[in-house]
Symmetry: C2
């Protein structure tokens, strides 16, 4: 649609707003708005209000910088977690992914991004200083670097590793290897190579 | 994600609302909400308010039942259009599509759906009565049935055709045929068959 003639300004505004979202073009935006028009008024107001509440009331946890409704997020205020471990992640989605594994009981630290000179993101734009402060103050013995396996992720990992070097902290990173359920022939060679180098004692895996 | 633990109720609400939209699952919804969280507060409030305004203030044109900001839509209130022709369409998207062709200068009538017993939509749920009223009152000489070429569309076409039968109106329907730019070998046989049956005098097409 090149020449777009909306019969209504209100409709056009809503379509414009939707089409600003990533991955939603103008045709999809129109489809979504027309879908909303077929819903109850209350339903649509609830949608609109949920967005307004979101931007006005959401906070970032003062400790781990995760998104939160309170000053301190539910994870940081949970006393039953292992206070000797901090897992460093890029964003809140990663926190949710790791929480969903039910395998991790320590705390988190959300950087808010990774070092990416191409996008103008340097170490000072990320929550790295506050991480160093947390590590130097608490009784933390291990920092898990759980960033993406990209060039930027590796750069950020290395930067944090260097900063933590003098602190007598065990710095670990996520195991890289063949996915569970994957067939070997379809794994890429770098992943497969890493999984050979970092092979695990079978006895530790299955228990004694 | 089976076990979804959101660190924030506000976040969860917004994700719930987004994932009610057609074609947007919970993962995409989370991605969209996190995108909004990275935007300015004003930007997000504008989005929320555009939806609230949409559902509270939008009207349906009293004449053609198209979506409109006023009681009468811009098309119906345009005196320069051809008042002898009404084009019957299913919904407002079809109005926009036809308007974008710049080939039609008459008025519209938006049915608000098509007859579909499977979905419990009968003739009385659509704006058919008001169409008949318009036709009987005005000086309309032609009604163009521009509904989808589906079973439901054909049923609705036939229903309206029967209703208009005694009224001395020229009832027409969109030409079916091979798309402009399509290669013949890829056209389906029904479309190709129709385009042979409804072949057009070449002289009328190119002008004399």
């Amino acid at each position: 649609m090149n020449v777009e003639k909306f019969p209504s300004k209100l409709l056009e505004n809503a379509v414009n707003e939707f089409s600003k979202l990533p991955g939603i073009g103008r045709r999809s935006a129109l489809r979504l708005v027309l879908h909303l028009l077929r819903q109850d008024k209350e339903e649509v107001s609830r949608f609109g209000n949920s967005l307004i509440d979101l931007c006005n009331e959401i906070k970032h946890c003062k400790i781990c910088h995760n998104i939160s409704d309170e000053e301190i997020c539910p994870i940081c205020s949970d006393p039953n977690r292992d206070e000797t471990v901090i897992c460093v992640v890029e964003n809140i989605r990663d926190v949710m992914s790791i929480e969903n594994t039910l395998q991790y009981k320590g705390y988190y630290h959300v950087l808010g991004g990774i070092i990416s000179p191409m996008d103008g993101v340097g170490p000072s734009d990320l929550e790295i200083e506050s991480l160093l402060e947390r590590v130097s103050q608490g009784n933390i013995t291990e920092v898990i670097l759980a960033l993406s396996t990209t060039m930027e992720g590796d750069t950020t990992n290395f930067y944090i590793f260097r900063k933590l070097k003098g602190m007598d902290i065990n710095v670990t990173t996520l195991a890289r290897g063949v996915s569970v359920g994957d067939e070997l022939e379809y794994a890429d060679e770098i992943t497969l190579g890493r999984s050979i180098l970092n092979r695990v004692n079978y006895e530790t895996l299955v228990g004694k």
